[in-house]
Each structure stands twice: as C-alpha cells, then as structure tokens.
Amino acid sequence: MNVIEAENLSKTFRVKQKEKGMKGSLKAILHPRTESVQAVDRISFTVKEGEMLAFIGPNGAGKSTTIKMLTGILYPDGGAVEVLGINPAKRRKQLAYKIGTVFGQKEQLWTHLTPYDNFRFFGAIYDLSDKEAETRIQELSDIFELDAFINTPVRNLSLGQRIRCELVASLIHKPQVLFLDEPTIGLDPVVKENIRSLIKQMNRELHTTIFLTSHDIGDIEKLCKRIIIVNNGRLVLDDSMEHLKYHYLNKKIVELKLQEDAPLPSTEGITILKRKGSHAKLEIDTSVIKINDALHHIDAEHVEDINISNIPLENIIMEIYKSEGRELAVL
C-alpha cells in the first residue's frame, strides 16, 4: 500500500532581482523585477508503507520544498500529492494527526520545560487524554532510554539527548509516516549511530514509514533501502540502495605498498591515481577489465601490501549530482 503518492509535483517561487550597487537599488524601487525559480519541477514518486526512503540532493535541489509540500506547509503550484490518502494542502490539520516531523535545524521543544512537560504539551496538541499520554510517554521513554533526563529542562540537555526528545515528541501520537530532515546534523559519531539505531528500531517495532533527507551519507547508507535523488528541482534517480551500490559501482580502488622501484601496470581499464614512493593508488574499471585480470597485471613479487575497496557511496552520489542522472553508466 502506498502511503505517499506524488505526481508531477511542482513549485515555483518568485524571486526579486536587483542590479548591483546603489544604482541597482534605486532602479529596483522604480522598476521592480522578479524572476521565477522552479524549486520543484514535475516530481513523481510513491512510497510504500513501512519503507525507509532517503530523499537527497545538493543544497537548493528542492528537497525541503518537496517535504514542505508533503506536510502541508507549502501549497504546490502544480501536480497532485496525497499522503495517507489525504491532500496535504486541503486537509493539513487532519494529516498532521497521522504524520510526524523532525527538523534537525529547527527545534520544536520548549527549552525551559522538561522533556516530560514537553511530551504532555504535545499530547494535548494531538488530543491525547492524560492517561493515553502517560502510557505513551512511558512506552517511548523505555525505547529511547530517556529515564535519566526526562525531568531535566531541555536547555540543559546535550544535543544528542535533545534530538532523542525531538523524536519522541514527534512520535507521541503514533504517526504512520515520519519526515526526518537532517536528524543527525551536528551530532558526534557515537550519538549519530545511537540515533540511527533508534530510527531503525522505530521502523521495525512501530512500522513507521521513514522519509529521510540528509547530507550525511552514513544516515542514508545505514538506514535506507531506497534512494531518491533530486537536483535542480527534478528527480534524477529513484532506485534501491542495493542496485545503486552493486550495479552502478563498477570501479574499484586498489591501494598498493610496493618495493621502491616496482613497475605499475599500464593497460586499458587501469588508471594510476597516485604514486608516491612505495605507495600507489589505482582505479580499476570493472566494465573494461575484470578485477582478477587486473590483479594479474600487478607483479605480485614486488607487492608488500594490498587493499581493494569500492568507491565510497559519497563519490557515487556526487557524480550523480553532477551528471543529473544522465550518465550513470559511466560510474
């Protein structure tokens, strides 16, 4: 069952234009000029119930605008969108009872209150009775291990503790879809890992559909099974993470530690990226040469150490951003 259906979703902003300097400012008063910026350009996709989806793209790609249209914050200019069978622009309040949002850059908790008081406030917002709110807070407090600081004012919490509380506040009403916008921004690696495992647990135990945007490749790689990439307002890739990794990933990096004067292979499909003293870094294009054939070209007698790795997912995504999905086969 699809929980999100977007078809040809579009949004245009009017942006004021001004020539440089004081002269430009005066001219802008007399003859104001605006330009249309297509923030989202006919994006179509669906999300199934219980899916964990990464919705990514470079800054200004249209991710946040899309999320804001899905949650009813912004009105689309064109196309159709339904979340849980509800049109967000027309029935925003009704939808809000069924979805949760966490914006890593925008705090929703009252900082002078304790997490417990905040959760009670959010319980009231979602019309939970005192008893329902109490039960739910206890349930989530156990899952997210909040007992140690549930009665400490939010302003005295660490960033990691605060994000855990933000997640709990967004889950108080058992949302079916959770929109996470940069949930791990600014967190240290240990806390990031902790938050990721909590999100996974939430998806597993509460069957919450996760719609994630993040610039953190770790979030995407460790959480999501499907990835949608947008750039310049357009959808450039919609694929499974597995497919992206193993079918588009046709280059391997080989790092070698050699004896000083050992020769390096020179054949089609092998590119020498770096050579410094006894260390060398090669790139092998497996669409041209098989990896074992490439290894045969390396003189094993002169090799002291070898390491073979995939191109990092980060690089693949960067290439997709640059090519906008037109030349994926090159990767």
Binding site: F13, I73, Y75, A96, K106, H112, A124, I125, Y126
Partner: protein, 264 residues
C-alpha cells in the same frame, strides 16, 4: 465540534501557562518587570496632574476621564501582549520561515502562533489599568464595562497588528510600516480624542482603529449608551474577521525558508 473547540482552548491555555512559566524562571526579573512597567506608566499621572492644574478641561475630558482613558489603553495593550504577544513579531516569523513549526501541528495555526509568546511587563500594564480605575473612577458597572472593553480593546489591538503583520506575506520590508502603524495606535490611545479634529479624527476612527478600541469605550463608560456598545462589539468582530481572512489569504503565499532557528 465542541470537542474541537475545547481541545483548541486547552492547548492555547497550556501555551499561555508555559509562556508565563518561562518568564517566571527568574523570579526577580519577572517581578521587577511588572513593577517597573506599572511605575513607568504612573509617571504620566504627574504630567496630567500638572496639565489639569493649568486648565480644567482638555479636549472635553476631566482628569478622571483622562485617567480612565490611560487605564483602558494600558489594560487593553497589556492583555493583548499577555495573551497574543507573538502577533507583534509576526513579520519576523513570516520572513524567516518560522511558521513551519506551527503548520505541522494539527491545531489552528493562527491561535497557535498568537499564543506562543507572552510579555512579562504587559502584566504590569494590565494591573496598572485596573489600579487606575479603582483609584480614580470606581463603580461596579464601570468595573465590568472596563473588563469588557479591555478584552475588545485587546482584540482590536491584536487584529490590527495581525493585519499589519500579514502584509509581510505580500510586501518585503513592510514590517517597518506595520510596526509604525501599531505604535501610532498606542501613542494616540493616551490622548483625549477631543483634541483631534478633522482628518486626524477621521484617521483615528477609520484607519488606525484606536477610536473603537479606546475612545468610544471611554465615552460609554462615562455615559452609558447601548447603541454605541453594540457598534464597538460589531466593529471588534468585523475587524477580527477581516484580519483572520487576510492572514489566511497571505498564508497561501507563505514560502517558508531554510534558515536555522530554535524555539527559545
């Protein structure tokens, strides 16, 4: 339907309660803010006492009438800032995309925004108005009318600030114009309307709604007139409806923002 209204009110009251709790975090600051605002207002009594020692009548007002005017202006302004302080920073929320946090909640956006902040010193203004009424012209009838007009005055202040603030949905930098208009409403509210003539009087009743927020209510409290009372109530309702309509029309143009921010 009644359940929806009940839940909306429950959240609004919780919001106001938490706002006041936030202001009370530092007890000394909280109490001194209230006290000094009341004292600050009281200094104007001296100014008017001196003026009335020179003339018996200013713009058709005796000293107790001017005090009633001051008291009502302070209480209406105070109530508006205690309950709906955020309306006075609405342009900032619109320009910096800070309405997002309210738009993802299943409650009335406007009510959630309006009740999301309070001003401590406004409690001083509100109490000052009540004290002035008790000292200069107390009667049971006047007391209840004063409370009613503090509410209608606060609603008119808030509605006018909402109208002015909503201009930011359409016009960049309109917040300066809006804040001047709202400030002028406060300034004019502390002078007897009898001193204003012609075009200025026209402006004070039709453009800056101080006539219906303060002047007419003071006239009614001095000499009760049921017809005028209905006009004030009707005007309050119409202005509020217009402000709400303009806010929601503007909200359709809201373009959000990617600025980082926090609720503090």
């Amino acid at each position: 339907m009644s359940m929806v209204v009940k839940n909306e009110l429950r959240v609004c009251l919780l919001s106001v309660k938490y706002n006041i709790m936030r202001e009370m975090l530092n007890k000394v600051t909280f109490l001194t803010n209230i006290l000094f605002m009341a004292l600050n207002n009281a200094t104007f009594i001296v100014q008017w006492v001196i003026l009335f020692s020179l003339r018996e009548d200013i713009g058709g007002y005796a000293i107790q009438d001017v005090m009633l005017l001051w008291g009502l202006a302070a209480s209406a302004f105070g109530l508006s800032h205690i309950l709906f302080a955020r309306v006075f920073s609405l342009p900032e929320l619109i320009i910096n995309g800070k309405l997002d946090a309210y738009l993802v909640l299943p409650k009335n956006v406007l009510l959630s925004v309006l009740t999301s902040a309070t001003s401590t010193s406004a409690i001083g203004d509100f109490l000052y108005g009540l004290i002035i009424l008790c000292v200069f012209s107390f009667s049971i009838g006047k007391f209840f009318l004063f409370l009613l007009f503090s509410i209608t005055g606060a609603v008119i202040y808030t509605a006018f600030a909402l109208l002015m603030g909503s201009l930011s949905f359409w016009f960049v930098r309109s917040e300066l114009f809006g804040s001047h208009m709202v400030s002028s409403m406060i300034s004019f509210g502390t002078y007897p309307d009898g001193i204003f003539k012609g075009m200025v009087k026209f402006l004070l009743y039709l453009v800056i709604p101080i006539g219906m927020a303060i002047y007419q209510p003071v006239h009614i409290m001095i000499s009760f007139d049921a017809g005028k009372l209905l006009v004030v109530l009707g005007y309050t309702f119409l202005l509020s409806a217009a402000a709400v309509f303009v806010f929601y029309r503007g909200l359709r143009r809201y373009s959000s923002s990617s600025l980082m921010g926090a609720k503090v």
